[in-house]
């Protein structure tokens, strides 16, 4: 991995998540009606952190679920490597909730499109809002995040990596050179 820049370091990561937690609470006037849904794998970790911060601020249990959008991907038939299913785990009724969808990087918007379709199959939420750690641009669908950790303008041959302690041993946001492959 050829790192071009370390955009957010560990203390910055924590402060950024804390700001997102407050923004989510401000928009929804508290945590009463919201539920957090993370997109596996890294979105799940970030969703857990955000949920914990929101609970600590509000002193109220928060519903949290995880979404595996693999079955809803639009590139299933021409994807060369078959992805492993990790499973969706949303044990509450999404109907009437303000769902805060959480992912690490917002790029083409195709993952979010799949996630929206899957959530709608589970029920009829009042709203779905999107929170991401990094928005790197290059959207292919008309999708926009409600809560953004950091806007990072990129070229197509760059990639944004969000690292989390639970998987990678450290919290960071990196700008890296794309390894081989197509842009």
């Amino acid at each position: 991995m050829n790192i071009k820049a370390r955009i957010i370091d560990e203390p910055g990561f924590e402060r950024m998540l804390r700001r997102l937690a407050h923004e989510i609470l401000e928009r929804n006037k508290g945590s009463e009606t919201i539920a957090i849904v993370g997109i596996v794998t890294r979105g799940e970790i970030i969703a857990r952190r955000l949920a914990k911060m929101i609970q600590d601020i509000e002193h109220r249990e928060l519903q949290i679920g995880f979404l595996d959008i693999t079955l809803y991907r639009d590139d299933l038939r021409d994807n060369l490597k078959q992805p492993i299913l990790r499973g969706t785990d949303i044990s509450f009724d999404v109907t009437g909730k303000n769902i805060v969808l959480v992912d690490d990087v917002l790029y083409t918007g195709r993952t979010v499109r799949a996630a929206l379709d899957e959530i709608v199959d589970l029920g009829r939420p009042a709203t779905i809002q999107l929170a991401v750690v990094a928005d790197r641009g290059h959207r292919e669908f008309p999708i926009k995040a409600d809560f953004v950790g950091k806007n990072i303008p990129t070229s197509p041959d760059e990639e944004v990596r969000v690292l989390v302690k639970e998987i990678d041993g450290e919290d960071a946001v990196l700008l890296v050179e794309r390894e081989g492959g197509k842009a």
Binding site: Y72, L76, T88, D121
Partner: protein, 306 residues
């Protein structure tokens, strides 16, 4: 990590990683089956032909539901309604279907090896839904899924298959699959229905059911095929039932927790008593539910691999 084969023809020689992948993936589909909208778009645009040369209601419906819940388009063809009656060969049937641009074929056929043959003459993915007395891999996979769900593992679990082992594709697929996953398998039935040298597949043979149950965690009870009665494998059904029928008294005598499975349809009072079939030890209805999830898993893994 995809499956190692483009087809699912049987469990003989299948890598245990493939079985594990199918069972793990089925867990995700079990969750889908609990949703208000029990359907995902994964196989949108794929056409699956269900080619049933032998009668089957349960397996065909289970496959068709699995296909629909993955958004594939199923087409059903059964033997009595088809050109097979008019003398068409399997190869010609297959070639004709192939020209209609289909992606997958699910086939049941009375001849052992029919699915294997089909996989050599068509480009579509082939799933064996039962070929003669050879294999019925999806039934064995759903049995294994059900055991794993109930007991947490297959490793070192003692499974006894009871009944007509000689004519059973369910028994054979279960033996191959369970052995690959590290389970301990035994078979039990009258001598006329146990094939010679079955022990070479690594299974223990019992002729006494109480003796077999003394070491079993799971009984997989096979259907006695009443239509085969005229060929004198059994003196009478009553005698079979007394020697090999699974009853509450037998389960109590075994002095260990035993769960009971059956691939269906059951003959109440013959191989299994009504009290056992409807009782707390029975996983029979759970098998039916898991069957759809396991078949979705197989269809998904074959249909989305390149």
């Amino acid at each position: 990590m995809p499956l190692s084969s483009r087809h699912l023809l049987g469990l003989d020689g299948i890598p245990s990683d493939d079985i594990k992948l199918i069972l793990d993936t089925a867990t995700s589909f079990r969750e889908v089956l609990e949703r208000p909208i029990k359907k995902v778009p994964s196989l949108q645009g794929k056409t699956v032909v269900n080619l049933f040369f032998e009668n089957s209601t349960r397996t065909r419906i289970s496959f068709e539901l699995a296909e629909r819940r993955l958004s594939a388009d199923p087409v059903n063809m059964s033997a009595d309604a088809s050109s097979v009656r008019k003398g068409e060969t399997l190869k010609d049937t297959a070639r004709n279907i192939e020209m209609m641009k289909i992606d997958m074929v699910v086939m049941r056929h009375a001849a052992a090896g029919a699915a294997h043959y089909l996989s050599q003459v068509v480009r579509a993915n082939v799933i064996n839904a039962g070929d003669g007395a050879h294999e019925h891999p999806t039934q064995a996979l759903l049995d294994m899924y059900t055991i794993r769900e109930k007991l947490g593992t297959l490793q070192d679990v003692n499974i006894c298959i009871v009944g007509d082992i000689a004519h059973s594709r369910v028994a054979l697929s279960n033996i191959y699959g369970l052995r690959a996953m590290g389970a301990k398998v035994s078979v039990c039935g009258p001598r006329t229905l146990i094939p010679a040298e079955i022990d070479r597949l690594g299974v223990r043979v019992h002729y006494d059911l109480d003796e077999a149950m003394a070491g079993a965690d799971v009984l997989n009870v096979l259907r006695i095929q009443l239509e085969r009665q005229d060929r004198c494998f059994l003196p009478t059904l009553r005698e079979y039932s007394q020697a090999y029928g699974v009853t509450p008294e037998r389960l109590a005598r075994a002095k260990r927790p035993i769960v009971v499975m059956h691939p269906g349809p059951i003959n109440r009072g013959v191989e299994i008593s009504a009290d056992v079939a409807d009782g707390e030890h029975s996983l029979i209805l759970q098998q039916v539910l898991n069957g759809v999830a396991v078949r979705m898993s197989v269809l998904y893994l074959l249909g989305t691999a390149n």
